[in-house]
């Protein structure tokens, strides 16, 4: 299990354990954290699982694929320096302690 902190737009933080191999989006879903919708279920098709990665973590994540980059460019409120689609980030041990902030809304 990997500890991840999801911070809602309201400031409410949720520190939860997410299993390795799941995505960061699935970690939010499985722990009932509001703020990530993931309408397409993780297919990089809808841009409703957007989150802002804590600045200290941005460089430690695997790089974005072109499709994710393109979707993010138009996601609501995206900040390209630290926005990610959480369905595209696989959880592994290197993400222990990851902190991310959820946007006000997804679309």
């Amino acid at each position: 299990m990997v500890k991840i902190t999801y911070v809602e737009y309201t400031g409410q933080a949720h520190v939860v354990d997410v299993r390795q191999g799941a995505t960061v989006m699935e970690g939010a879903r499985d722990n009932g954290i509001p703020g990530i919708e993931a309408d397409c279920g993780g297919g990089c098709s809808c841009a409703t699982c957007h989150a802002y990665i804590d600045p200290s973590w941005v460089a430690k994540l695997p790089a974005k694929q072109p499709m994710e980059e393109d979707m993010l460019e138009f996601a609501y409120g995206a900040d390209l320096s630290r926005s990610r689609l959480t369905c595209q980030i696989k959880v592994n041990g290197a993400l222990e302690g990851l902190i991310l902030h959820l946007p006000e809304r997804q679309a």
Binding site: R29, C40, G41, C44, D70
Partner: protein
Amino acid sequence: MPGIVIIGAGQAGASLAAEARQLGYAGPITLIGDEPVAPYQRPPLSKAYLLGQAGLDRMALRATSFWGDHGIDLRVGRSVTAIDREVGRVWAGGESFRYEHLAIATGSSARQLPEAQGGLLQGVYTIRNIADVDAMAGEFRPNRKLLIIGGGYIGLEAAAVGAKLGLKVTLIEMAPRILQRVAAAETSSFFRELHLSNGVVIRENIALERLVGTGRVSGAVLSDGTELPVDFAIVGIGIMPRTRLAQEADLVIENGIRTDAHGRTSDQHIWAVGDCASFPHEGGRIRLESVGHAIHQGEVVARNILGMTQAYEAKPWFWSDQYDVKLQIAGLNAGYDRVLERKGEEGSRSIWYYRGDRLLAVDAINDARAYMVGKRILESRHTIAPHYVVDAATDVKTLISRAVPVSVGSTVG
């Protein structure tokens, strides 16, 4: 105390239940599903799940504990048999559930091949539920001959899975071209080429006469007299809204279960959401078969059950994954009279549908930027002059600032 009862535990029913609780509804919520599993995502059934890349655990819409934690009484594996409007209750076998508000979210069912055409032979499948896909999983072995009947998205996605797993796939479509009902010739051509290059045999303008076999399918006779050997077949010839319960309860049916803009049926205590509902849209009435619609209409109807009066405005979007190609569709192309193709980078492209000057829809093929731009223009009720769209030298992003509002009173019927 009777509360909200929801018939159907798919995306729409699950969304409605969660939203009602989220908004603070304090009464009982009962979510009744006829499948034996908790609500899950259906789109991967013809994609990653069929390919064996995603298990049911990854497809669940919510954690298992979510329903109980939120006081949602999830009853799976129960078929509702009747709605008693007089008393305000539904029957599921010998059990009954009282309601103050009933939401019908029964979805749709796959159209079956008639018995006279071999529809009851073993080895003939449709794709709608997880059980359908589990039943056919063992059939997907290299070099076996898979016949797919119907060149819509389900059939094409299944063909892609078959080809990827090394099967010999033939797909037949009775219309002159695959995707004819849902897309322009440009989109059909792209996907025809894609499948041909992956070894799928596509035969258009040809119908199935019948599947043949003794007990189990072993072949097919086509409308031109061709006979094909077949190890198993997938029938992808469309879906039908599940309206039987509503019909038997004498609710008004019009293509699907007829609702007003708030999602209310002809009975003020009964609502309908998702695939099974037909609702007002752009001066006409439509039914939508899509995840995005199911989720958002479910949310809107939850709000309306709680006394808000929010008209549902559909913002249709769809997607399909085949091989390494992602198709994303924004809008509804019904009634288009003109199609433009815009080339993107590295073989990506987008197809823009117009009626007159009004943009109706965009099919984006490996082109997420075009999809997102088209979606934004459509959702803000804008349109974009065609000459900007076809000019590949302009960044697609600039189309947003060049878009203009759709003139008032313009409708799409």
